[in-house]
């Protein structure tokens, strides 16, 4: 029995390694429909946050209320806001353990979000979590050479 697995449960079939490629092959409208469907099942149980080895903030942003930055309700808006915010806060920090997807009781493949931020960190900043202990963390630092192409 794998540590942490519910007694007697079957190991989940390994997700296809190309599932991220399959996701990104979808045109934007289809991808948005996909995520809307997925996030509509989110109940804000925060299992994804609690199992994540890199979610260790003493007070999570979703629990703060002055101001309310993330709608706490498990509405479409509240769920999108939560999942996107968490993915951003893990950009360049996610270590790819896959616990978020395993723990989600609603079967949302949250790892896909973190994979996309991991790739973005690699592509834009040449950064890979855990590869170089001396590298400055992506969302915790900046250099004057950082691209500003997003300012248009």
């Amino acid at each position: 029995m794998t540590l942490g697995m519910a007694a007697g449960s079957e190991p989940q079939s390994s997700p296809s390694p190309n599932r991220f490629a399959a996701l990104m092959a979808m045109p934007p409208a289809e991808r948005m429909a996909f995520w809307t469907e997925e996030f509509n099942r989110c109940v804000k149980c925060f299992a994804c946050r609690q199992v994540c080895p890199m979610c260790y903030c003493e007070r999570c942003i979703v629990d703060k209320n002055r101001p309310i930055a993330i709608d706490p309700a498990p509405s479409t808006k509240g769920n999108f806001a939560w999942q996107i915010a968490r993915a951003f806060h893990l950009a360049g920090r996610c270590v790819g353990c896959g616990e978020c997807s395993r723990a989600c009781p609603a079967g949302i493949d949250l790892a896909l979000l973190n994979i996309s931020m991991h790739i973005a960190a690699q592509k834009n900043f040449g950064y890979e979590a855990g590869a170089d202990p001396k590298a400055a963390p992506v969302i915790g630092s900046y250099t004057l050479h950082d691209t500003e192409g997003f300012i248009r």
Partner: protein, 331 residues
């Protein structure tokens, strides 16, 4: 003499109910390894075999994860409250498990304790529950330890027993059940049997005695240490009903919303002053067990648990209620 109905008829009926404007919910395959109760879009979505039970419960159809209590419009110094008085559409939950249906009469108590929660009551009145008796149980099930069994009719308006070959015996229990299936069945000699449930795994009365007498006890520290404090157990439980009322303001559409909450969250009992009566996870786990096996029974005469095993199956660390209460009984 029994009434029997075929799987194809059930699916056709589901499609008819959907076409007629009813909301129909039942088990559906969401992922290769995940079955959930969902609002069905067609009779074909209904999944009747090949799994123990859905990973969620039917409570979301009577007690939604987010329920708008009222909206408000603020204009200068005046506030207008906007309520939704539209009647709930008729709803059918098909192929619920006995451990899901049995939670409804249990929840009726708290939602009607002196004050009547009409959000819950209206949905309850508009819902017909068609239960599918279990054909098997797994090692996470323990309905027999909390006074139920795989063929329990509690909370059901009608109950189906699988006969094999895509046939089911149908027993209508209430007027609502009869109204749904009148004239849709065939007579038969075959009758379904309630299978033997899981062997009793603990004595609920002994658990109640223990938790009432051992509020301060290293037991909680020893057996709740692995709990990571998410809401998975509470949210997948048919009987858990703790909720929050949030007011996210203009950005969230100016409404007050009732949302699911869990006693396992660290801020569940946190005061604005910073004081928290349950500051550590063992204290919060203790509350869960106390509420289910001692407090709710004391107040309403019912155990707040139907032995469905969802908590254990879904818990990211494999904890759940069963392991803690069996430890109490045997420790």
């Amino acid at each position: 003499m029994s009434e029997i109905i075929s799987q194809s008829t059930l699916r056709a009926l589901a499609a008819e109910w959907i076409a007629g404007g009813k909301s129909v919910a039942g088990p559906a395959r969401v992922k290769p390894d995940l079955v959930l109760y969902r609002t069905l879009r067609s009779g074909d979505d209904l999944l009747l075999e090949g799994f123990q039970r859905p990973a969620n419960s039917i409570k979301e159809f009577l007690f939604p994860k987010a329920e708008k209590l009222y909206g408000y419009k603020i204009r200068g110094n005046s506030v207008e409250l906007i309520e939704n008085d539209a009647l709930e559409p008729a709803q059918v939950i098909i192929a619920a498990r006995p451990c899901d249906a049995a939670a409804l009469p249990i929840l009726d108590h708290v939602f009607n304790w002196d004050f009547h929660d009409e959000f819950y009551n209206r949905r309850r009145a508009a819902t017909t529950v068609v239960t599918l008796a279990c054909s098997a149980h797994d090692e996470n099930c323990f309905c027999t330890s909390v006074g139920l069994d795989p063929g329990s009719e509690r909370g059901s308006d009608a109950i189906l027993f699988a006969l094999g070959d895509g046939q089911y015996e149908l027993r209508c229990i209430t007027e609502k059940g009869r109204a749904l299936f009148g004239g849709k069945t065939e007579k038969s000699e075959q009758t379904g049997k309630t299978i033997a449930g899981p062997e009793k795994k603990f004595d609920a009365q002994a658990v109640r005695t223990f938790v009432t007498a051992h509020f301060e006890d290293p037991f909680w520290q020893e057996h709740a240490l692995t709990c990571i404090g998410c809401g998975t157990c509470a949210f997948s439980c048919p009987a858990c009903h703790c909720f929050d009322i949030v007011d996210a303001g203009p950005a969230a559409g100016n409404a007050r919303v009732k949302t699911w909450d869990s006693c396992q969250f660290s801020t569940f009992t946190a005061h604005a002053s910073g004081h928290n009566p349950r500051p550590v996870q063992p204290a919060r786990q203790r509350q869960r067990i106390l509420h289910k096996f001692a407090i709710y029974p004391e107040k309403f005469g019912e155990i707040l648990c139907t032995g469905c095993g969802n908590c254990t199956r879904n818990c990211p660390v494999g904890l759940g209620v069963l392991s803690v209460v069996t430890e109490i009984n045997h420790g």
